[in-house]
Symmetry: C2
Subunit: 196 residues, 2 copies
DNA sequence: AGAGGAATGTGACATATGTCAATGGTTTCG
DNA sequence: CGAAACCATTGACATATGTCACATTCCTCT
């Protein structure tokens, strides 16, 4: 199955994981599909799986005073998850929604815990992934500290080259901490006087 | 020595670490002091140690166009470190400065790696710490997404109850992503019309 | 006590962004 | 095809924050 091959290739690219480290997962790899607008997680649910995205795209958001606040996106070859809910297996504050028809490979929490428990290599993999997440999130904090709206938009384009082609301005703006109208104006300013 | 007892007490409070897991560190625990304004790390240096703060307080900042951007603070019973530089043992973009006379207990990178290599429990501890850092940093991103300046200030007071008594407005404002004058006005607005 | 410096407060104004309303384009679907 | 829904753009105006200048307070040192 194509999706399964994709996650196996991805896992094999992790340098220090051995074939034995990976074999544990083999029997449990299967694909699940989500239609556009379908929810992978709702507020109050426990996020029981971390899902490898083989195709498509998700957003994670929560409601504040009835308003949707997007906190991030998950693209192909990334793991979609509410990290906080998944780690502690407690109810989520978030919704996760497919923005396109999508295919994922879910890894259940207990499988992952078992994987960690039975191999120091896999435990280490978990540590390094968490460290990577922490580092990327810290960079995002930095972007709020010293960039204005325009700079953050350009930064996002660099991080996610094709995001403007796949995601509506509304969602992108929310994720940048601004309103849709502001992003529209910023984008216009960037396009019309490119050089300066 | 008082500082050493403090980190041992802290380590013993981690539920799943055994006495053997901790004994490895015992011979290497010693205190280092920093005077106010002294640098623990400079840009370009590799952050070779993660330091447990037994007393005092540090800030981490970098220079952008000659301007200091504070990205965080480290208080007592926290680990002061440039996580990115420490993890990958590569040159730092940051400065770390003592804001008060401070005492720390440094844990060298190779000691920590050795600790991870020789115990799955310790490796797990590293994973869980990284996950905690990721979670807290994500919360900080959220604070930029849906809060205005006033709300972020109140949020910080809740996170760090006595920070306004120990850190200058200039540094706090930088860490909140605003100017000193704005924070001064926001604080005034909060104090004068408390109830609303 | 007095001088000097650092931190903070405040006023005036510029700029960026939020908010609301209206418009026009595009997609979707019966 | 045509209607409805969605999305982006734009204008007008309100508000928040940045910027600069200067006043004031607080602290430290002699």
């Amino acid at each position: 199955m194509k999706g399964v091959e994709q996650i196996k290739a991805w896992m094999e690219s992790v340098p220090f994981l051995t074939k034995e480290d990976l074999d544990l997962f083999e029997p449990f790899l299967s694909v699940t599909t989500f239609a556009e607008k379908q929810l992978l997680l709702s507020e109050g649910e426990i996020c029981r799986e971390i899902c490898f995205v083989t195709s498509g795209l998700f957003r994670i958001y929560y409601l504040s005073d009835g308003k949707e606040i997007n906190t991030g996106f998950f693209f192909e070859n990334e793991f979609v998850v509410d990290y906080e809910s998944f780690i502690n297996q407690k109810p989520s504050r978030f919704y996760i929604e497919a923005l396109e028809d999508s295919v994922v490979i879910p890894l259940p929490h207990d499988l992952l815990m078992h994987a960690y428990n039975t191999s120091k290599n896999r435990e280490r993999f978990g540590r390094m992934k968490a460290e990577e997440v922490a580092r990327m999130t810290a960079e995002r904090v930095e972007s709020f500290l010293f960039m204005d709206g325009k700079a953050r938009s350009l930064w996002l384009v660099k991080e996610r080259p094709n995001i403007f082609e796949r995601v509506s301005l509304y969602h992108i703006a929310s994720c940048l901490g601004m309103e849709r109208e502001s992003l529209s104006r910023i984008r216009k300013a960037i396009v019309t006087r490119k050089g300066r």
